[in-house]
């Protein structure tokens, strides 16, 4: 766990859901958006996005369709499904609670130490 940029297990899905909640995107776009949003903290092998996307398709969180890009290319776009939106809300809530708790733990000091 030396590399601080390594993704926490399961976090990739949350990031993908968040990225797609803004607008439908193709795979590269999602990776690019995650990099932008995290100010390049999360650097993952871009390829690992695709197995994750396939798993999310099976879970019904996202769906895909082939669209034409601005450059007139065929690309596979991913869209959030209603189930995906619900999942995103739940995960954000859960994440906030967990990170708040961890913050609290880290900020905790015993009286004699302080």
């Amino acid at each position: 766990m030396a590399d601080s940029s390594e993704l926490l297990q399961g976090t990739l899905e949350l990031l993908v859901l968040k990225a797609l909640s803004l607008e439908p995107m193709h795979g590269w776009g999602i990776g690019h958006r995650i990099g932008q949003m995290s100010r390049e903290v999360f650097l993952v092998p871009q390829g690992s996005l695709y197995p994750a996307l396939q798993r999310m398709l099976r879970k019904g969180l996202i769906r895909s369709e082939w669209r034409t890009t601005e450059n007139n290319r065929q690309a596979r776009y991913y869209l959030l499904t209603p189930a995906g939106e619900r999942q995103l809300d739940q995960e954000i809530t859960a994440w906030r609670r967990a990170s708040g708790a961890i913050e609290g733990v880290l900020a905790f000091r015993l009286a004699e130490e302080g």
């Binding site: 193709h26 390829g47 695709y50 197995p51 396939q54 099976r58 879970k59 082939w66």
Partner: protein, 874 residues
């Protein structure tokens, strides 16, 4: 996880595999190009940008694999490849495949046929709604069960409290007018309550009502949909038509729905209203009663209710019917229809199950041999990292594919088998319900899959417990056979013998009992004896005088037919058509008060009957015309009857009260005649004859002995009958045929069981033959060494044969144990031989041992012929 999206993705990955792969390829390429373009926009060198894009992406092939994993289609794809592999493998060994499919297919097909029979005959529901609440009511005393009298039926209908509906019925073959002359068809007579109890409504027209039951009410008829369509094309058009039954014209008032083909187990084409008149005495017992239990009523409460009726009416008729132990008793309708088919059907279900098990053991052995031939391949697979579970799945797939093919063949066997059963096993109740329906198909599928697991089981065990390293050696032949595989194979062969023996014993016992039955003296010489059966309709033969005149004239005219040497009339025909069973009370040996009176088959005959049949008068005198006058009732009894009731002799001259008629003059025994069987060849030869004229009946048989050609004599008799009444249907037969037909059922059961037994024994012999052949091949080297060291070739053969026979012996001993279990089912099918008849059991066991010895000797001889030098240098 969302099930719908999950399966959509899996199915897409599976069905549109190529397209999905192409899309993945396109998508990933797009990604890399997009990344390259992005890097160029940010100022990178184009060639460098592309390299960096690939780098940032990571291992393309690795992620492709991960995506494929994420599709969740791996398991299916492996299964498909296993199936392809199994099919290819089976195709590579056509002889093995064909043999296995044949053996298993026959086993599965026969099992499915028997299942269909069991399902229809023993398990299936009757075609009536809520049929488990339907009961038949009988007269029953501790030793006997018989029909209901008019008085009983009327009392039940008036007094019962347990049934929501109760009806009375009776069915007899009758002459029905038809477009092509009169036909003999089964005609039912029933009260309105009968149809209510069965909840059998009519589809068109009106049902039979209680008003139709009043004696003298217009005669009405309900007919089946089939009959209505056949005669009038349309059920609606049949209503109002008239139809003649035994000379009486009936008006058709209703037609049953097409599905109603039988009522309470009676397949009558026509039902008419049963009109019961007031009776002067308790008997005769000739009716059937069916009732539907009220909700809440049980068989026990109905039994109490009916017993109460019996007690209440007993004193009213005590002068004529003195058996106080006889009680009206309800019996579930299903039991009465399925009857005693249970043991037979169970026996054959067990037999076919054993055959299937032997077949499975046989194919399992073949699979095991084949799997050990593939030990090297499996060793390589294991060494390359295939899991043992994966290997087991491969073997099971192999077995299941094989048995699925066998099951397909089995379904064809079952179709043929079910057709055969329907055509030939007509004495089985409800046999027309046997069909390859959904339940039978489900059984076939389950049996197929189960046998698939079973045949591959031993091979799986051998593969999983075998050592991977050992089989990697190139020369597997010289490592000797794997101990465990050998043990499994031996166990399978032992099992085959253990399973085959009970079948052979059963077949042997049935065969012996069939031969016993053929040895039974029916009491007459059937050669050249013919019978003609006729029933005189009430309409044209209104009074007894007309009936009597017809029969007397018929007998006279028949005697003039050329080629006929003797003729007589009778009510009962041997060997199994007894018209009536009557109770009697011997004056010098009376039954204690309240006890059950003895009964005997009772027939009316003319004196010519004995001559025609060739039955001798042993003691006393024959009937004379004076006996027919109706002065004092007299009877002739059979020797068996005389021996049973007067073992001390002196039966002639004894008197009895017959039919419980205490007010009638006593009946006198005037003579003893030779034994004739009326209750089947396996039954006893009790018989009582009374002179026919004292009680003429409408339905009678003319029996004639011919010296010429039987067919010509029968033609002459038909002409004689037509000369008296042109519209009378005449049913003819020869006594040889009747005798043969009475043996048809036991002969058929015996043939089927012998077929099963021979199949099982053959499979067992093939099994041990294969085992010993394999052993000899495996041990060529050691045999060669022994021969080279001076062992006698015959000794080698003996050694091999002895080893094989050890397996057979163990199997036979276990089989003897199993034989004891089948006794229960066999006993009721046997005649003149016990189910544990030691000579049969020993003979069969020795025979099977002999077959095993032969099957071992053939490959054993090969051992003696092993060329020592060749075997050693191989």
């Amino acid at each position: 996880m969302n099930l719908l999206s999950d399966w959509r993705e899996r199915v897409r990955g599976l069905l549109f595999k190529r397209r999905t792969e192409r899309e993945l390829e396109t998508e990933l390429r797009f990604h890399v190009e997009q990344e390259t373009a992005h890097r160029i926009r940010e100022g990178a060198d184009p060639a460098e940008a592309r390299r960096a894009a690939f780098l940032a992406f990571g291992g393309v092939e690795q992620f492709k694999e991960e995506v494929r994993d994420a599709r969740g289609t791996r398991g299916f794809e492996e299964l498909l490849s296993d199936i392809r592999y199994a099919v290819r493998n089976l195709g590579k060994h056509p002889v093995f495949t064909a043999a296995a499919i044949l053996v298993l297919g026959l086993g599965l097909g026969a099992s499915t046929t028997v299942f269909a029979v069991v399902d229809a005959v023993l398990l299936a529901k009757l075609p009536h709604p809520e049929a488990d609440r339907l009961v038949r009511i009988y007269q029953q005393n501790p030793s006997n069960r018989w029909a209901i009298s008019t008085v009983d039926a009327q009392a039940i209908v008036a007094q019962q409290q347990s049934f929501e509906a109760v009806g009375v019925f009776r069915a007899v073959p009758s002459g029905i007018s038809g477009p092509n002359g009169p036909e003999q068809l089964l005609v039912g007579r029933a009260t309105a309550g009968f149809f209510d109890a069965l909840r059998a409504p009519v589809a068109v027209g009106r049902p039979i009502r209680t008003s139709d039951e009043t004696p003298g009410a217009p005669a009405v008829a309900l007919i089946t949909d089939a009959m209505a369509r056949q005669r009038w094309g349309d059920p609606a058009r049949a209503i109002g038509q008239s139809i003649t039954v035994d000379g009486i014209s009936l008006e058709i008032i209703g037609v049953f729905p097409p599905a109603t083909r039988e009522l309470a187990g009676v397949r009558a084409e026509l039902w008419t209203a049963l009109q019961l008149e007031t009776q002067p005495r308790r008997g005769p017992f000739w009716l059937r009663v069916v009732g539907r239990l009220k909700p809440g009523a049980t068989l026990e409460s109905a039994t109490r209710d009916l017993a109460g009726i019996s007690e209440r009416i007993f004193p009213l008729w005590a002068t004529g019917f003195r058996d106080q132990t006889a009680k009206l008793t309800p019996v579930p309708l299903r039991t009465t229809i399925v009857g005693n088919a249970g043991p037979q059907v169970n026996l054959f279900a067990a037999a076919v199950g054993l055959v299937l098990l032997v077949a499975i053991a046989n194919v399992a052995t073949l699979m095991l041999v084949r799997a050990s031939g593939r030990a090297q391949e499996f060793g390589v697979r294991l060494a390359l990292g295939a899991g043992k579970a994966r290997l087991a799945r491969l073997l099971v797939t192999d077995g299941v594919i094989l048995t699925l093919a066998a099951g397909l063949f089995g379904s064809m066997v079952a179709i043929a088998g079910i057709r055969l059963v329907g055509e030939h096993v007509t004495d089985l109740p409800r046999v027309h319900h046997v069909a390859l329906d959904g339940r039978a198909l489900a059984f076939l599928l389950i049996a197929t899959l189960a046998s698939g697991l079973a045949v591959s089981g031993p091979a799986v065990i051998a593969a999983l417990t075998g050592r991977a390293g050992a089989s990697l050696r190139i020369d597997t032949r010289r490592t000797g056979s794997d101990r465990r595989t050998g043990a499994l194979r031996s166990a399978l062969v032992v099992a085959e013998f253990a399973l085959a023996l009970p079948l052979l014993v059963g077949a042997g016992l049935l065969l012996q009992s069939l031969m016993e039955l053929r040895r039974v003296d029916p009491g007459f010489d059937p050669e050249g004896v013919v019978t003609a059966t006729m029933a005189l309709p009430v309409s044209r033969y209104g009074d007894y005088l007309a009936v009597q005149t017809f029969w007397r004239q018929l007998e006279q005219r028949a005697r003039e037919v050329p080629g006929l040497s003797a003729a007589g009339m009778t009510l009962s025909l041997p060997p199994d058509e007894s018209d009536e069973t009557n109770n009697f009370d011997l004056l010098d040996k009376p039954v204690p008060p309240g006890g059950a009176e003895p009964t005997a088959p009772w027939s009316g005959v003319t004196p010519g009957y004995f001559a025609a049949l060739g039955v001798p008068l042993i003691e006393g005198r024959m009937f004379t015309p004076a006996d027919s006058g109706g002065a004092l009732p007299v009877v002739l009894v059979s020797a068996a009857w005389a021996n049973r009731y007067y073992p001390e002799g002196g039966a002639v001259g004894k008197q009895m009260i017959s039919g419980g008629c205490t007010s009638c003059p006593p009946t006198t025994v005037i003579g003893i005649v030779g034994d004739v069987k009326y209750q089947g060849l396996a039954g006893n030869a009790d018989a009582v004859y009374q002179p026919l004229v004292q009680g003429m009946a409408r339905r009678m048989h003319l029996v004639a002995r011919t010296s010429g050609h039987p067919a010509e004599v029968l033609r002459g008799i038909r002409e004689a009958a037509r000369g008296l009444d042109a519209e009378l249907p005449v049913a003819t037969a020869t006594l040889s045929d009747r005798l043969g037909n009475s043996l048809a059922a036991p002969r058929r059961w015996t043939a089927v069981l012998i077929g099963f037994a021979v199949t099982a024994a053959t499979l067992a012999a093939l099994g041990i033959f294969g085992l010993i052949s394999y052993t000899v091949r495996q041990e060529r080297r050691s045999i060669g060494i022994r021969l080279a060291l001076g062992a006698a070739p015959d000794t080698m053969t003996a050694l091999i044969v002895r080893r094989g026979l050890r397996h057979a012996s163990i199997g036979i001993v276990i089989g003897l144990g199993l034989t004891l279990l089948e006794e229960r089912w066999l006993a009721s099918l046997l005649y003149g031989v016990r189910a544990t008849d030691p000579p049969t059991v020993v003979a069969v066991a020795l025979g099977l041992f002999g077959v095993a010895a032969l099957a071992c000797w053939l490959p054993g001889r090969q051992a003696a012929r092993v060329d020592a030098r060749e075997a050693l240098t191989e």
